[in-house]
Symmetry: C2
Subunit: 248 residues, 2 copies
DNA sequence: AACCGTTGCATGATATAACACATATCAGTA
DNA sequence: TACTGATATGTGTTATATCATGCAACGGTT
């Protein structure tokens, strides 16, 4: 056996049992750290978050701690933690007498969010353009075709999801975690109403596809300014359509 | 008595007991809503927040739920809620095995925050410039002199506080609550290290006063572009000084 | 019929208990 | 002396109990 032979090849002064073992890489190279499960609170948070992104929760809907807890099969504590976190991010809202509700996006609020997004998404795009790898670009092209397909199939939920992935592939490439987190919560704040209104805005004629093509082209040419313009135009188009549909 | 005389002056057809009373304004105009105390969780949150702003908590310090709870005289639940909220805002940080620590601001992280702030504070200043009222401007001028005085007195904590108030008077005038909240958490993220390093950066010569004067002048002239420039110069000056002092 | 107070239920807020895990302390052994 | 293993302590996480509050249904009064 190789092991025994290797062992005998060791220097003679090795006397202890440990040193008779064949030489091996450090333990950390052979053992993977255990998979430490995330807390129930984090799971509840992510669960609510994806529900929000999918439009499973409608604006104005009231969320109670106990119902969330019962639905997710956990106690009040993790459910409450998740709700508090979402409220802190302004993704959910404190209603009267401390109830938590899915916010109803007003025109003013949407306008404010858009102004912030125009700046921040432009910033992220400008930086992301220079740092994007070839692999990321390839992934974006795949997302582009998938998005166009879902769009034509009128699979609005899929299209929304793919649109989000497409955008965040750019923003993520910037390598700015704080900025990315801000952008995620901003998107999440418009998400629920977006899901509700998208079928309408779809019929109103959305030119997202054209802008996405321009974005890809700008990235291929490594032209940050052009990318910023395309990203902002995309956002402004959506804004023009959605603004008329929002209340107040 | 005036009331009785007023009462007798009422039209005669008033017969019921209620109608014999003198005319009065609606109840809501005479009764203030009860002072509904904020929850212990919110109080704990604000308490930690002001401690952070004052530099009472040092970067790297470890915060335990039980110690916070004991210090504030509440149970674990509100203390935990406050910590979670601050972690969600990235004002505090998750250390190894879910401990909460005051983040140590690295150079890269500070750089990222500055880039975001240059954009967002510029945006807030541009809008705030056009919306600022005369009363707000007067308040800013008072803050300006108070800040300069604290600066000369080398009362660094006071100077920092007044500097913050001065800036946020502009940003608040923009009337964009979401943007304001983002800016507040961004400032809070640099706050602890700022408090630690400011005495040093003070000696290194800070030209904040000049920029503040330029800001005031720009507001008086209602010149948004000039205000944006002044705000960004101010931030860039601070960045140049602080960047060298940060680790990594 | 309209109004109003009462009662019971659901809910959020808080405290507390129970549990798993990590670190520190310390004694025992090579 | 250096290292190993056990124990104690502290901590985060989660569940549960308790309390005050808001709301809705109900029934009595005018």
């Amino acid at each position: 056996m190789r092991r025994a032979i290797q062992g005998e090849a060791q220097p003679i002064e090795a006397g202890s049992a440990a040193e008779r073992q064949p030489p091996q890489r450090a333990l950390t190279a052979r053992l993977r750290p255990v998979n430490r499960p995330e807390t129930l609170g984090d799971q509840a948070y992510r669960s609510l978050r994806t529900a929000l992104r999918r439009g499973a929760l409608s604006p104005g809907e009231r969320l109670t701690t106990r119902e969330i807890a019962a639905t997710l099969g956990v106690s009040l504590t993790p459910a409450r933690e998740a709700l508090n976190r979402l409220v802190a991010e302004r993704v959910l809202e404190q209603g009267p007498d401390r109830t938590v509700i899915v916010p109803i996006l007003t025109r003013d609020r949407y306008e404010e969010l858009c102004v912030i997004r125009l700046n921040l998404e432009g910033l992220a795009a400008e930086i992301g353009c220079t740092k994007m790898t070839a692999a990321q670009l390839a992934r974006m092209e795949a997302l582009y075709t998938a998005h166009g397909e879902a769009y034509r199939r009128r699979a609005t939920k899929d299209a929304l999801r793919l649109n989000e992935d497409f955008h965040f592939m750019i923003y993520g490439a910037a390598g700015m975690p704080s900025l990315l987190q801000i952008l995620e919560t901003l998107w999440l704040q418009v998400g629920p109403s977006m899901n509700l209104l998208f079928p309408v805005s779809y019929d109103a004629g959305w030119k997202g596809g054209r802008h996405h093509a321009a974005m890809l082209e700008a990235i291929r040419r490594r032209d940050p300014k052009a990318l910023v313009r395309a990203v902002q135009r995309d956002l402004e188009d959506g804004r023009a359509v959605l603004k008329r549909l929002l209340p107040e």
